[in-house]
Symmetry: C2
Subunit: 156 residues, 2 copies
């Protein structure tokens, strides 16, 4: 897909887990809690209504402070593509100050495992930059490490 | 559906045309050109890719000035519900300053024809108010008149 380097961020990696399992991790509240934020932060709660426009809401515990996030799914192609955003809450209610739209792509890797691509699209170059400064690459990279390690425990 | 009177606008009317025909009008470029903006303004061009995230782009002629609009479809339930917005262009590229999200609902009316509901959701009370001040009710009402008259010519 065509990206805009001024407003988009992208992370690619091959993970040692099958697509179907990574998809299950990404779309199930109990699994989301295991990898979705870098430890020692925690996902305290997660609500998923896995349909177009359905809610993807989370509550983080960040050093004892509760952080609520509301979002929706924009596109769902099972085991291939998941698009979600904080631009809306359920019912297509627009957010006043949306931050980003995330696109997760899963493909079979040529030598086994899954080619994993995470894209974050932003409204402005400034919000892209602030996301990078907040630690996009480190943070999303850590999430990938956690996802891979957790998925491996499910493969035993 | 639950609306927020601070940020949403709604127009309801019963139209003397069947749902299937109104759906066809709303989802076909050649028909869109016939009703989508109040005369004497014109739709010069319309591009539709009728799938989730697909483009709904139009070019208006407003007193000789070209006005380009890019948007996407968020939800498509044939003959029942169409959701589109300028919040993204095709490929889930976020717009810097999205204006609104439109929801068109079609139901069979009890005495024939179609109960037609048009909803415009906005990010802030200010953008809702500016939309009302720009003539939401008059403008979208005129569009409904045009849609009904045009659909009737297709029923002959």
């Amino acid at each position: 897909m065509k990206l805009d380097p001024k407003t988009d961020l992208k992370l690619e990696r091959t993970l040692a887990a099958p697509r179907a399992l990574l998809w299950e991790c990404w779309t199930t509240p109990e699994h989301i809690k295991q990898f979705f934020v870098p430890h020692p932060h925690l996902v305290k709660d997660c609500e998923i209504n896995l349909r177009i426009g359905g809610r993807f809401n989370t509550v983080f515990d960040v050093e004892g402070n509760e952080m609520k996030n509301e979002g929706v799914y924009l596109e769902i192609v099972p085991e291939e593509k998941l698009v979600f955003t904080d631009t809306y809450s359920e019912g297509w209610k627009p957010s006043e100050n949306p931050f980003m739209t995330a696109i997760i792509l899963l493909e079979d890797a040529p030598d086994g495992g899954t080619k994993y691509t995470a894209i974050a699209r932003h409204r402005t170059p400034e919000s892209r930059q602030s996301h990078e400064d907040m630690g996009f690459f480190g943070g999303w990279g850590t999430v990938l490490d956690q996802l891979e390690a957790y998925a491996k425990t499910m493969m035993r």
